[in-house]
Symmetry: C2
Subunit: 241 residues, 2 copies
DNA sequence: TTCATACTTCGATCGTAACCGAAGCATCTC
DNA sequence: GAGATGCTTCGGTTACGATCGAAGTATGAA
């Protein structure tokens, strides 16, 4: 039969638990050293080294040498999208890896998805942007309105600068915990960076979850209000789970 | 670390060559028996049976008993989308499973992707629909215009009937061979069925490729004309590889 | 009932890949 | 230079899962 691309190869790359743990850790968006990834995967350094070689040879990872450290990161955002897609599918089938632990709620509330905000807060942000007319929904796609450009400009997002980027401005990304869409693309990245810069939120160690300060949380919720009782303004974006 | 859904489990399901062959064969859209799938995977019936049990337990396959046959199919179109996504990724990394063989050109020209048309012809069809104003592109999404509804109605597609369906009407699907988008969704399915019903094209045995009759090919190309020299009318849809 | 077909289950084999200890190489610090 | 840290390579063990032969079950045909 031998038809089409070899899905078995990348399946087996993702299929090993140690490698899957590494990839999941790297979904946090920042580059990690081999030692950190070994800890994340729960294996020794030698084993991790072998896994990392395979992942790199398979085109999933990129590495950058820096002094005596070797930093690994996802090769590009297509890898992130692929992984989030598989996560969404796995979540929909109930293949959760764990009994819900103490870190689970934080992860569902706000986490990083490659480079943008996901989880309850991520979904809320997109919902609010749509509800207030900053982003319009067209079929499966999203586009920033003139009103939205002004709105985001007022909080310090340089939209025209982002437009010159090759990467799409708005993109929807299916959230595995909420099973609805959140905002990806260069705008999604810029918004999350903005929150970090302002000190509203920060990354947490060893986890994809994002910690909001009380003040940051207050400001975030005020900036992205939601009409009470109207939980699902995203027409056509949440049907695919 | 143990965060999020278990991507390793579904990765390992897809990661075995025999199972990957089975899934690829089932991307053809029709249900196959265990014996047929064993042949497709190149393993004995006992081995195939074990694989099919795992795939079903993992939620990738659904089975239907019919007499003494047991038919297997992809569980739903989300599985198809997941697989096509992985195929697209694998193709972009050059993980082709084979040296290009004799069946390869036919597969690139026209093939079935779960239930709709893919390959060169699939991409052409969407390009033409966009160029003639039947479908409009909005960000990453697609929507059928009033003009398009009339146009397709004239060839026997009942668009209003499709709209009542829960499944989205238009959806773009990334084509692994062309690396551009083709039309999925209920409309994509309806169009391919229409071609089959009219006798323009038919499925081929043991392959995902679609055979067009000379007459059908002529009609198809006439129905979906393309401005010469304008190869890439899809703005924003082909950037993601 | 008898036979054939379609498939599953059992049991055993076998190959591969994950794994780690130990040693080796590279880079930084002092 | 000496020592420490970060990582890779080598070699050998081990465990898991893919595989198939043989036997067992279910459905249909004669």
């Amino acid at each position: 039969m031998k038809e089409g691309p070899d899905i078995a190869q990348i399946g087996s790359l993702i299929g090993d638990p140690a490698r899957a743990n590494m990839l999941t850790a790297l979904m946090g968006g920042r580059a990690l050293t081999a030692t950190e990834l070994a800890a994340a995967a729960g294996v020794t350094l030698q084993t991790a080294s072998a896994h990392l070689s395979k992942l790199e040879a398979g085109g999933l990872l990129a590495q950058r040498k820096q002094g005596r450290h070797r930093y690994f990161a996802l090769a590009d955002d297509r890898v992130g999208k692929l992984l989030e897609g598989i996560m969404g599918f796995a979540a929909s089938r109930g293949h959760l890896r764990h009994r819900p632990g103490p870190k689970e709620p934080a992860l569902r509330k706000a986490r990083i998805c490659y480079d943008h905000l996901a989880g309850d807060y991520g979904v809320r942000m997109l919902d609010s942007l749509i509800e207030t007319g900053s982003i319009s929904v067209m079929g499966e796609g999203l586009s920033l309105t003139a009103r939205g450009e002004k709105h985001l400009g007022s909080i310090g997002i340089d939209v025209s600068g982002l437009r010159s980027n090759r990467r799409p401005l708005c993109r929807s990304c299916l959230d595995w915990s909420e099973r609805r869409a959140h905002l990806a693309g260069s705008l999604g990245k810029a918004l999350l960076s903005n929150f970090f810069d302002k000190g509203w939120a920060r990354r947490t160690e060893n986890s994809r979850s994002i910690f909001f300060t009380p003040e940051g949380e207050r400001r975030f919720l005020a900036l992205f209000p939601l009409e009470p009782g109207d939980g699902h303004p995203q027409s056509g974006l949440d049907e695919n789970l």
